[in-house]
């Protein structure tokens, strides 16, 4: 047992010694250390150690794949490292930060994210309406459920061709035809900044509305039927019953759905990369797609990492505030 502890200590030491020069020994050391740790737990604590084994593998896995890269990312965020140039990595202090501060495209991408997140409210309203319709006593419910679910299943990249590049195509796309029929003579869905942003929002909404819809539907089905009936008996009409009974009851579920949706929205990138690659003039850029191009076009790992790290800090701040707010909102009514 003491041996195990010693080995552990040695490995941890070793980890510090040749940390940043070569990663291969570190990986082996980590795997070895993880096995020793798990085995040591069982030996040292017996039955109690076996309980630890439930959580330990997942925890070690997550730590190795997030905490390590994050720490490593912090190091390279403050360095100038162009992967295509031979001189490798060298520390350049706050130059990256200054560059980020003066980078209009990055701030533009951040501002776009605010717009994209605000679009969630519209998505939420549509999803709620659809969930209410699905929850009504209807025939062929299974068909509608499957049909409504399908957009979520399709890969965003395929969707960006199916909708973005073919249906919205200005000459032959059916939607463009429809737009011409309705009186828009030169439909172009990615030409002007405002329209392009709205189109990306719509495509993303098309994919993710089912997700919110299902969460809200699950919430609706958990509301006891008697509540609505009681409201009816009291003389409330459908509209009032909805606002005074259903909607308040749904508030916790709604907040959860919106929060999760925001988390997903902040990762939005696939359709932007595939359809507009940020254009026109950065109007549809998301932070992720911007950093993706930063890497692909300039292979500047250091600067890209700093941008990503800054984004992460912003996300953590915003999500913390939102969760606090959500807590306060949801509590008095539940």
């Amino acid at each position: 047992m003491a041996l195990v502890a010693l080995v552990q200590l040695l490995q941890v030491q070793g980890l510090h010694d040749f940390g940043l020069t070569s990663w291969r020994p570190t990986l082996y050391a980590y795997i070895f250390w993880a096995i020793c740790l798990s085995w040591g737990q069982v030996l040292l604590h017996g039955e109690h150690g076996k309980r630890t084994l439930f959580v330990l593998p997942a925890a070690l896995f997550v730590i190795s794949l997030t905490v390590f890269p994050l720490l490593f990312g912090l190091v390279i965020a403050f360095s100038d490292w162009n992967l295509s140039s031979p001189d490798g990595r060298h520390f350049n202090g706050l130059t990256n930060v200054r560059q980020m501060w003066a980078d209009p495209f990055y701030w533009n991408a951040l501002l776009n994210m605010v717009w994209y997140v605000l679009a969630i409210l519209v998505e939420y309203a549509i999803a709620f309406g659809l969930a209410l319709a699905l929850n009504a006593e209807i025939r062929a419910r299974k068909f509608f459920r499957v049909a409504f679910l399908l957009p979520l299943m399709l890969s965003p990249v395929a969707v960006s061709w199916m909708i973005g590049k073919s249906m919205l195509e200005a000459r032959f796309g059916p939607v463009a035809r429809l737009a011409r029929f309705l009186g828009w003579e030169t439909p172009s869905f990615f030409g002007t900044p405002g329209v392009a942003k709205a189109t990306i929002m719509l495509m993303d909404a098309w994919t993710f509305i089912p997700f919110m819809m299902i969460m809200i539907l699950a919430g609706l089905q958990a509301i006891p039927k008697e509540l609505n009936e009681a409201a009816k008996v009291d003389g409330a009409n459908g509209w009032r019953a909805f606002w005074e009974v259903t909607f308040p009851m749904m508030l916790p579920v709604s907040i959860t759905a919106i929060l999760i949706r925001i988390i997903f929205k902040l990762k939005l990138a696939d359709i932007v990369i595939a359809v507009t690659s940020g254009g026109p003039g950065g109007a549809t850029d998301t932070v992720t797609s911007f950093i993706f191009r930063e890497y692909r076009d300039r292979s500047n790992v250091g600067y890209g990492t700093l941008l990503a790290m800054f984004y992460l800090v912003l996300i953590i701040i915003v999500m913390t505030i939102l969760m606090k707010l959500a807590d306060r909102f949801a509590r008095p009514r539940t």
């Binding site: 490292w81 902040l266 890497y295 984004y311």
Partner: protein
């Protein structure tokens, strides 16, 4: 449906049929119905039309595309053009085709990475979720809820934060452009979702079951494997399917971390989208082939997917 029938019967059986409230009620009920069905059908159309459009486009030829024909046989004759370019049409299926080989390679890559990482995530995630829902852990200052939060907070982490450091690390470890590298990251990205679903599932199973098993002389792990796992199976299936869909569709990591060997299907679709010369029918065929497995999963296993997603909604 039977309920709808019942309420109708109730209404017909009402004694005070002729009161003013009832007479106005019928048409109102009817327009309400009409509105609900109108909404449902409209949205179903919005959801299904792109899929239909892509399928028909894959059978079109240039003039059909330009004229905007919509219904096969009625206003255009379906041709195997798009599928021929993929090597998947009836007359080319026997012959050699480099495009098809490429497609099949991507397809296998996608299948292997998504299935393996989903299995891994469900295994690791179920264990952790079970531990967290049953025992009390203490690690430094962290209790159970902190550990749960640690896992779930991974969901917030945007992939782009990990992507570049991972790229460098993978290069160092020779994991770049390998399936293993992708599998590790995919497992990581779906793990929080699995833990979320499974924690819900395990906490709905009464603890008396294991207590009885422990009294019978089984160890903790024995009780977990023989008693609890079979009960939790539906939840595991739901988590597995959801992970499968997410990892099958993943594009960002695959685009960054793979180049020629471990490329997945979305990367192939995206690279074709970007190229100028590609014709609509081949692109449509490719897109449709890429989403077909998901459509099948969606239609057949819809129940599990909804169950998995609903798990988080109600606590």
């Amino acid at each position: 449906m039977s309920k709808a029938g019942m309420s109708e019967a109730n209404m017909n059986g009402q004694i005070f049929k002729d009161s003013a409230a009832d007479r106005s009620f019928r048409p109102k009920w009817f327009t309400g119905r009409l509105f609900v069905y109108g909404l449902l059908i409209l949205w179903a159309f919005i959801c299904l039309f792109p899929i239909y459009w892509t399928l028909t486009t894959s059978f079109k030829m240039a003039p059909d595309v330009m004229k905007g024909n919509l219904i096969p046989w009625l206003d255009f004759t379906p041709k195997w053009l798009g599928w021929k370019s993929l090597g998947l049409s009836p007359d080319t299926i026997g012959a050699d085709s480099t495009v098809r080989d490429e497609f099949m390679k991507r397809f296998t890559n996608s299948a292997i990475t998504s299935v393996t990482s989903s299995v891994l995530a469900v295994m690791l995630g179920s264990l952790a979720a079970y531990g967290l829902s049953r025992f009390n852990y203490k690690f430094l200052w962290m209790g159970n809820s902190d550990i749960s939060f640690f896992f779930l907070s991974q969901l917030i982490l945007p992939p782009v934060v990990l992507a570049l450091p991972m790229l460098v690390l993978y290069k160092e470890l020779a994991l770049l452009d390998t399936r293993i590298g992708l599998i590790l990251l995919y497992t990581l990205s779906v793990l929080p979702i699995v833990i979320w679903i499974m924690r819900d599932q395990f906490s709905s199973i009464p603890t008396e079951l294991e207590e009885a098993a422990l009294v019978d002389g089984l160890s903790i792990w024995g009780a977990f494997i023989t008693i609890i796992l079979p009960i939790a199976l539906p939840g595991m299936v739901a988590a597995f399917i959801l992970s499968l869909v997410l990892t099958w569709n993943e594009y960002f990591f695959a685009a960054l971390l793979t180049s020629t060997h471990a490329n997945t299907l979305p990367v192939m679709v995206a690279s074709q989208t970007g190229s100028q010369g590609i014709s609509w029918w081949s692109m449509a065929a490719l897109s449709w082939a890429a989403i077909l497995p998901l459509i099948v999963i969606g239609v057949v296993l819809e129940r599990y997917i909804i169950k998995g997603m609903a798990a988080g909604a109600i606590k």
